[in-house]
Amino acid sequence: MALSVSDVERLGRLARIELSPDELEQLAPQLDVILEAVARVGEIDTSDVPATSHPQPLTNVFRDDVVAESLPVADALAMAPAAEEDRFRVPRILGESQ
């Protein structure tokens, strides 16, 4: 399932990672190896195995609608690379002409 350079370019865009032409050339075959490795799982006959998304056979694990304590604002912001007016500061958002 050869991964094309344009596939990798698209993945890069979705992940918001800028990749140079050299990196694209280099990454395409590397990602291909990973995909091929994972694809080997598909060789197993799983027609009798139900799809599962959680290891525990549980359903309906709910909590009551009760307010619990939140973090102090200073703690919430402690790991933010930048904060301003008690808000998380982020670089300007591109790609929207709003």
Partner: protein, 496 residues
Amino acid sequence: MTDLVDFDEAVDRYDPVMGLEVHVELNTASKMFCGCSTAFGAAPNSQTCPVCLGLPGAMPTVNGKAVESAIRIGLALNCEIAEWCRFARKNYFYPDMPKNYQISQYDEPIAFDGYLDVEVDGEIHRVEIERAHMEEDTGKSTHVGGATGRIQGASHSLMDFNRCGVPLIEIVTKPIVGAGAKTPEVARAYVKTLRDLIKALGVSEARMEQGNLRCDANVSLRASADAEFGTRTETKNVNSLRSVERAVRHEVERQAAVLDAGQDVALETRMWHEDTGATTAGRPKESAEDYRYFPEPDLVPVAPSREWVEQLRGTLPEPPTQRIRRLTEAWGFSELEMRDVVAADAVDPIAETVEAGCAPQSARKWWLTELARRANEQGVELTEVGMTPQQVESLQKLVDDKVINDKLARQVIDGVLAGEGEPAEVVDARGLAVVSDDGALSAAVDDAIAANPDIAEKIRGGKVQAAGALIGAVMKQMKGQADAARVRELIVEKLS
């Protein structure tokens, strides 16, 4: 300047197809997946925790009350309720989502295949519901450094994650076809009926102006009713009932111009601007694959028992269209009168006024005339005008008891809206009560007769209808504070 085609011409040449997505913010006390408060207006980032901030290792747990609300909404929309469904991760990078994914539902919504009947000009349109699913809201961004808080030209943005994780139900219609020129009105009627239903369910404040209920409108045009669907646009930022109708109308006019010019409509998100009454291009739509949905591994499936579902079905309020029919009959309104009431969004205020003891026609009169006019002037919803149904009932009681007349009642409304207290207090404070002292009235009537001898003569001669001019003179002298019927009695008494 965007090219537009006149709406009537546009729907003459093209068949509009519409899909509406409505996000309802539930009124649970705590968030969808954590115990943080959902209270509106708290200090920035004071209602966050490791779960809603997406810190590594933090595990979500589903709010049972939110699931209950989702099922009740689904049932009220005549949907099937899934016997088993899961949450899914919707992956995208945007600063309003600290986890870099939103927990939503993908191919297994909790409710699906329903409908909502809505009425436009006395005609019922059945809007088919594709699905209603559970998800979480995003944070609120403030853009700094640009003009008027817009993203464009901003130097950076600030994020408040208090709203992040507040439970949302997204309700998606199937394509609405066949509404033709009525398409914008059907859009408005649908959102309004849905809003009223959500309010009646008590699961959300459902106030559009506060963002509890938000509508995205997908619109496309096709050459004819049997052609394939055209490319659609998704208009966001539509935050009032009026905007829903205007935005859909505008997109029909704009897309018709694009197609007339032989161009293709771009698949994109567009932003509605209330001030200009137009949409502008937003971000190009990412396709479903771009979101790389997969089942949420941190949450177990939701499998509502049929007993639970049936028990919740028993808690549903009367469907809106049925309620309107019942109230029309109970209140003795004509269909036309009720249509005006519905259009003015006055059903609930009138119902509460009647419940407080007021005659339905009197309640209708105040809400649809004086109060509707003032709400319109202030640009607010009728329920926000500043007078409660109980106060309207008190006002009418003062009229019924002949303490004031209709004309003075308007001044009483002014007083109540100005915050001068209850209607009776306004009457006292402003000295508005009609003069019931026959002595003072009698003197005023004598003055009016003396000042208008020719009219008095006509009345003596049997032309009682001429009394109007004298009543007017008396009312003027009494500064309106008299009961016109009593004045008429006195005039006729004195001149016969």
